[in-house]
Symmetry: C2
C-alpha cells in the first residue's frame, strides 16, 4: 500500500468558496462580526464529482492508494476575520473532509485544520481537536506556525502557549503537520517562499526548544521536504553544536518527520540521502502548489512517487518504510475498513 501523507481538498464544490466569500464580506464590513456557523449545502454527488475527476483519478494514474487528506491549506486563512470566523470555517472544512473519507474510506483518511486566529490563545483550538478525533475519527492535525499569514507576530512553536495542543496530541497519539496558510504579506509568495520559509522556521523553533523534552512522544511533520533543512543539514548540525544543543539525532529525529514534497529527482535524492529513512513519509501534495508537467521529464512535477521509485540508493524495504510503514507508525490511529 502506498500512503500519501499530504493531500488537501483543493477542488471543493463551489458552495465552499461562496460560504467563505460571504464570511469575508461580513468581516470586511465589521471586523468583530460574529455570526454563526450556518450551513453548507453540498450533495454527495458534488463531492464525488470533485474528487473522482481529480484526486482519485490521480491516485489511480500514479499508483498510490490512500491520501491522508485535510482542508486546503492556502484557504485556512487564519488571518481572516476573528476567532469566530475561523471557528465556523474550520468546522465546515473539517466536516467536509469527514464526508470525503466516508465516501471513499479506502482512499482518504482525515486530518483536521485548526481554528487558530491571530492573538487568540492556541489552547482555544483544543476543542476542535477533541471533536475531530473523538467524534469524527480524525488521525492528525495541521498546525499553523504563523496564523497571521506572513507577519509572524504570534508565538513561536517553542512557546508554552502551544502546550495544551501538544498535550492533546500526545494523549491521542496524533501527529501535526506544521503548515502555514496563504500569505497576506506582499513580501512572501504563498506556495514558494512562505511555505518553504515556514517549514524551515518551524523546524528551527522546535529543535532549539524544550518541546520534545517536555513531550517526548510528540510527532511533528515538516512538509515540503523540510523546507531548506536537509539541504542545510550541515549548517543546522553546526548551529546546534555551537549553541550547546544535543545533536539533531537526539533533538530532532526522535520526533520530527519530513515529507517528500520535493518536485525533482535530485532534490528527492538529497532528502533520501541525508535524512534517515525512518523519518521520511511519502507525500505529493497533489493537487496542490505545482500542477504542471515538467518539460524535462514529461511527467507532473508533483508525481513524487516516480522520484522515489527512480532513486537508486534505497532498498525495496526502505522504500516500503517511506511509502507505508512510517506513515502507519506516525498516524497510529489510521485504521482502514477490514483492518
Amino acid at each position: 500500500m502506498i500512503i500519501d501523507c499530504h493531500g488537501h481538498y483543493t477542488t471543493t464544490p463551489r458552495a465552499v468558496g461562496e460560504y467563505r466569500d460571504q464570511q469575508i464580506a461580513e468581516v470586511t464590513r465589521d471586523p468583530s462580526f460574529r455570526g454563526q456557523k450556518g450551513s453548507l449545502v453540498i450533495s454527495d454527488d458534488e463531492i464525488r464529482d470533485s474528487i473522482e475527476k481529480n484526486q482519485l483519478r490521480l491516485q489511480k494514474e500514479r499508483g498510490t492508494d490512500l491520501t491522508i487528506f485535510s482542508p486546503r491549506a492556502s484557504w485556512m486563512g487564519h488571518h481572516i476575520g476573528n476567532e469566530y470566523t475561523s471557528q465556523y470555517w474550520t468546522e465546515h472544512q473539517n466536516d467536509l473532509i469527514r464526508r470525503v473519507c466516508d465516501l471513499y474510506p479506502q482512499n482518504f483518511a482525515p486530518v483536521a485544520q485548526l481554528p487558530q486566529s491571530p492573538g487568540v490563545d492556541p489552547a482555544r483550538s483544543v476543542p476542535e481537536i477533541v471533536r475531530c478525533v473523538e467524534e469524527m475519527g480524525f488521525i492528525g492535525i495541521n498546525l499553523n506556525p504563523d496564523p497571521s499569514g506572513g507577519h509572524w507576530n504570534g508565538s513561536s512553536l517553542a512557546d508554552r502557549a502551544f502546550y495544551p495542543i501538544y498535550e492533546k496530541m500526545c494523549e491521542y497519539d496524533i501527529p501535526a503537520m506544521v503548515h502555514v496558510s496563504a500569505s497576506c504579506n506582499d513580501c512572501f509568495h504563498t506556495t514558494g517562499s512562505h511555505y518553504l520559509g515556514a517549514d524551515t522556521t518551524g523546524f528551527q523553533q522546535l529543535v532549539m526548544s524544550n518541546v520534545f523534552k517536555d513531550f517526548p512522544t510528540l510527532k511533528m511533520i515538516i512538509p515540503h521536504g523540510g523546507g531548506a533543512v536537509p539541504y542545510h543539514w550541515g549548517r543546522f548540525r553546526g548551529l546546534m553544536q555551537d549553541q550547546g544543543y544535543e545533536p539533531l539525532e537526539i533533538s530532532a529525529l526522535n520526533n520530527i518527520y519530513f515529507d517528500t514534497c520535493v518536485y525533482h529527482q535530485k532534490g528527492i535524492d538529497l532528502l533520501l540521502d541525508i535524512i534517515p529513512v525512518k523519518n521520511i513519509l511519502f507525500a505529493s501534495e497533489m493537487i496542490g502548489a505545482v500542477r504542471g508537467i515538467d518539460p524535462e521529464t514529461g511527467f507532473p512535477f508533483d508525481d513524487t512517487k516516480r522520484y522515489i521509485d527512480n532513486n537508486t540508493r534505497l532498498s525495496a524495504a526502505e522504500k516500503h518504510m517511506i511509502f507505508e510503514g512510517n506513515a502507519r507508525r506516525v498516524f497510529s490511529r489510521l485504521k482502514l475498513a477490514g483492518e
Copy 2:
C-alpha cells in the same frame, strides 16, 4: 587564485561594539535621537590583531587568497534606531572595511553595507553607495530585503522603491548580495531560519518581478547556497511555469548568482549539480554563523573549499570558474595591486 566572495568583519576591535552600544543607549532613551557620526578610535595595530589571528590565519590554513569583505551582517541591525543611527553606524562600518583592505590589499576587497532603515525610502541609501564606490573603491554592496529585522513590513525587492539602488548598481556594474541582518522577531533564529528564509524570499521576489527586465545587467548574489532554492529547483521551475513566467534560465540565471555557503558535502554536491557553474561563486562566510568542527569529518563546517575540492563531478576548469573566474566577472571592479 581562490576568491571567497562572502566574508564579514565579525572580529572587530572592542571600540566598534562600544560605539554601537552607545548608539543603542541613545535611541533607547529617545527613539528620534539624531546625534552625529562622531569618531571611532581604533589603531591599525588593533585591526591587524583582529584580522591576522582570525580571517587571515584561516585564509592561509584553508588555502584561499582573497576575501570579498563587508561589515558584520548580523550587526547591520537596520531595525535599530532611526535613519541617522543607521547612517552613522554604516559609514563607520564601511570606513573600517576600507581600512582592513588598505592594510591587506592582496587579501581583502571591500563590499559595503547600506544605511537602510525601516520606513525610509531605499533611495536614501544611494549616497552611501556613491561614497563607497567613488571615494573608497568598493566593489559591491549588501542589500537587506528586510530592514525590519524579521517583521517583513517593508517593500519587496520587486518594488520600484528599490530602483534607484538598482540604477546605481548598473551604472557602477557592482553586484548586491541579498543579505538580512539579525532578527529581532522571536519567531526566527538569525543565522538559521531568518538567513535561509530571507535568501529564498529574495530569490522569489526577484524572479517573479520585472526587475531583471527593467535592469538586464543587474547582478544579485543569493547567499547561503540560495537558501532553499536549489533543493526546491523543481518546485520553483513548476511555479514559474504554472504562473506564466519565463523559465528560470531566462528569468533568474542571467542575473542571479548563488554562493557556496552550504556546510556539508552532500549539500554542496546538490548545489553544483543543479545550478549552472557560471552562476556559482565560491564563499565560506568565515568567520561567521557556524564556527565549530564537524565531528563527522574532523574539519570546520564552514571550510567549504574542501567540499568543492572533494566534488567528483566538476572538472578542474569548472572549479576554477567557481573559485575565481565567476567572481572576477561578477565583481568587475575588483582590481588587485599589480593587475
